[in-house]
């Protein structure tokens, strides 16, 4: 009986799988110094930027693609990717109202309104379509109070000193294979600058959309929060359904100075590939790292990972400033043939630094979900503390969950705690709910919500509700 109900609701499709018919300026597939020069030229970049790209590219050529993660995928042909794709626009738009209606429609369809009058209450949005930012809402209003929120390209043009100073300061171009690739070919992204002692008056948000088949998305985000500043930032992503895999290799760098706080949240819903065959979907290879450079600074990562065929990401914190805090709250859901290898790295350098890792992995279908984490206490980190909790929830019997925690404590004053649990949503649990008059869907929702609540309460306001709904949707029909 349960089986039948479940089958009826399984047919829930990925509702963001459409492609927008829009003319694009796409460079031919392939990667070479010429392609990089072309990208740089298209963006009218200053020489320092081109040099940075070339330096990264030359380094990348000496590197090998990492294969240590617990995921398997076919060899990526880096010459079969187009590294730049932008919707054709005649000139730069001054206001959101001038953005191509076709693009605006796309974002409306995704539930992201770029029209300021119809905006999400109190949220400024930077919309990134394939390789470029198509518009940023509330830009002027934010600038009036001193907050810079713009596309990365615009920052290179208008704030080259800040970009030069901080770009690569947290994730150097030599960091890893995908970060090096990104440093060579990144096309756009978001830039945020919060001046001294300013609490950013609204949530900032970037929405990433991959549209063109065969293109990769390589964006960079840089957030700098000066002394005493505060910002909460949210990132969302979707992509159309294609049978071919698409590569998304982003770099996010956060810098928090004395007493500054950055809260970075992600709700990732890239196309995960065909539910029955596992064909297609996004390869999400992302490097996210924050540096608590100043004393008593704080960086908090919250992620809800529900999409992508493969997720490979470890939002991390380097705790340099004395008394600084790093946090990582994660819900990673895999269903069907998805694979995720995700977790966090907390590097304690300063004295009295604290970190907290709360990871919730949900695996269903034939998916494979791994938590990989490292807590690294350097000799200088007197009285460092870490609390790690990683819980896995299994749905059905064909999925796998793994945890790979690493702790390296070089200072004897460190206090470390690690807790881990594995549980399963069972038929018996669902029947228990049903016997009390509660439907299977509501029961699933309650169990998932209960499992994830420590993470969801870290998400800004209405996104917590969205995240709950998203999980429910993604798991419909997984229990039988």
């Amino acid at each position: 009986m349960t089986q039948k109900i479940i089958q009826e609701i399984t047919s829930q499709e990925y509702k963001y799988g459409f492609q927008t018919a829009i003319e694009s300026d796409t460079v031919p597939k392939g990667l070479s110094e010429d392609v990089i020069r072309m990208i740089s030229a298209k963006k009218n970049e200053p020489p320092f930027m081109l040099e940075y790209r070339l330096k990264a590219y030359r380094h990348w050529l000496t590197m090998k693609e990492p294969r240590w993660s617990n995921v398997s995928y076919p060899k990526i042909d880096y010459q079969d990717i187009s590294y730049y794709s932008a919707p054709k626009v005649s000139e730069k738009k001054k206001s959101m109202d001038e953005v191509d209606p076709e693009l605006k429609k796309t974002f409306e369809k995704l539930g992201i309104s770029l029209m300021e009058q119809k905006k999400l209450a109190g949220v400024a949005v930077d919309a990134i379509f394939d390789s470029v930012s198509v518009g940023t809402s509330y830009k002027q209003k934010l600038l009036d109070v001193g907050v810079v929120f713009c596309s990365f390209s615009e920052a290179v043009e208008k704030y080259p000193d800040l970009v030069k100073k901080y770009m690569g300061s947290v994730v150097p171009h030599t960091d890893n294979y995908f970060a090096a690739l990104n440093s060579a070919v990144f096309t756009d992204g978001s830039f945020v600058y919060i001046p001294k002692n300013l609490k950013c008056p609204m949530e900032l948000s970037t929405y990433f959309r991959i549209n063109t088949e065969g293109s990769g998305q390589f964006e960079r985000t840089l957030i700098i929060c000066e002394e005493g500043g505060y910002v909460s930032y949210l990132e969302g992503c979707t992509a159309p359904k294609f049978d071919t895999n698409q590569l998304h290799a982003a770099v996010v760098e956060l810098v928090a100075l004395d007493n500054a706080e950055i809260k970075y949240s992600t709700v990732q819903n890239w196309y995960a590939g065909d539910p029955k065959t596992g064909k297609g979907g996004i390869f999400n290879f992302v490097t996210k790292r924050g540096k608590c450079a100043g004393k008593n600074s704080k960086i908090s990562w919250t992620q809800v990972e529900t999409g992508s065929a493969i997720t490979w990401k470890y939002p991390s914190c380097i705790l340099v400033g004395d008394g600084s805090t790093g946090e990582f709250y994660s819900v990673a859901l895999t269903n069907h043939f998805q694979q995720a290898d995700t977790g966090s790295k907390m590097i304690h350098i300063g004295k009295n630094t604290k970190s907290r890792i709360i990871s919730k992995g949900i695996s269903a279908g034939h998916s494979n979900n791994s938590y990989r984490g490292a807590v690294d206490i350097k000799r200088s980190a007197e009285n460092a503390r870490n609390f790690t909790q990683c819980d896995s929830l299994l749905v059905g019997s064909n999925c796998t969950a793994n945890t790979f925690p690493v702790i390296d404590a070089q200072n004897p004053t460190a206090q470390l705690e690690h807790e881990a649990t594995t549980s399963r949503i069972s038929d018996d649990q669902l029947f228990y709910f049903r016997q009390r008059g509660v439907s299977t869907e509501d029961a699933m929702g309650a169990i998932l919500n209960g499992f994830c609540k420590d993470v969801f309460r870290e998400l800004p306001g209405e996104f917590a509700v969205e995240a709950t709904k998203l999980l429910g949707l993604k798991l419909e029909g997984s229990v039988g």
Binding site: Y432, Q435, G437, G450
Partner: protein
């Protein structure tokens, strides 16, 4: 499904049912009228729990023959949650743990599902907490119970009490208590039994499934049935249980 004084709450005719292709209940009959408490006793494997699961609609169990009428209507065609909404309640022999979901929110979901089904307004968390606190008194459950996850880390006795708290909240028409007495010490048994007595009404019915006579010292049944090999082999007044206790199951099995 309105019951008036004359419609039986439960009628089972010639029921064959089992699990994984194995027939456990064979030609099972029972008639339960409003206001009655029936005790079903029998050795392990006689089909007691199968009966409970089949009435509740556990999808693992299959009915191969026979009919079940609940307040005059075909019960077997209803999904488990619909049976529950119509007032069928099963106190589980092994209540499951649901980590992360508090008793308060679990019970409120159930309570509101029923309210909605009955066309009544749903109750908000604050009002519900007041309702729940009253119900806790039925089995002397401590108030910290409200915040704890459903059965998570509960002792065996607490789990059984929780089933009765849920029964008190949902006020079922037909409650099937599957070995609610097993695993309880003598004090807990008395408290749980008193709880059950408080929930007896003229318009509902209770089926007590038990191994032992001792529960029946506290909850007086109107009828006692003895189940053996999937069939009721003897029915009688409360004294039948005492006789059984003296003579043992061999007596009815005719060995």
């Amino acid at each position: 499904m309105k019951s008036n004084g004359t419609t039986p709450i439960l009628q089972v005719h010639g029921l064959d049912a089992g699990i994984s292709g194995k027939t456990i209940l064979k030609d099972f009959h029972i008639l339960v009228k409003p206001g009655e408490v029936h005790a079903i006793m029998g050795p392990n494997g006689s089909g007691k729990s199968t009966l409970a699961k089949v009435l509740a609609g556990d999808p693992h169990y299959e009915v191969t023959k026979g009919q079940v009428f609940y307040q005059g209507e075909d019960l077997l065609k209803l999904e488990p949650e619909v049976r529950a909404l119509h007032g069928v309640f099963l106190a589980f022999q092994y209540p499951v743990e649901i980590p992360g979901v508090s008793n308060a929110s679990f019970l409120r979901m159930a309570y509101n599902a029923k309210r909605k089904f009955e066309g009544k307004a749903e109750v908000d968390p604050l009002d519900f907490e007041d309702i729940l606190k009253e119900k806790l008194k039925v089995v002397a459950m401590k108030e910290d119970f409200i915040r704890r996850s459903v059965n998570h880390g509960f002792s065996g006795g607490e789990k059984k009490r929780n089933e009765i708290v849920q029964m008190a909240v949902l006020e079922p028409k037909l409650a099937v208590l599957d070995e609610t007495d097993s695993g309880l010490d003598i004090d807990a048994l008395r408290e749980v039994a008193e709880g059950v007595n408080k929930l007896r009404r003229a318009d509902n019915a209770i089926i007590l499934i038990t191994h032992y006579q001792r529960l029946l010292d506290y909850v007086k049944p109107d009828v006692v049935h003895i189940l053996s090999n999937g069939k009721i082999v003897r029915s009688g007044p409360a004294s039948l249980a005492l006789e059984l206790e003296k003579k043992g199951y061999e007596w009815v099995e005719g060995r």
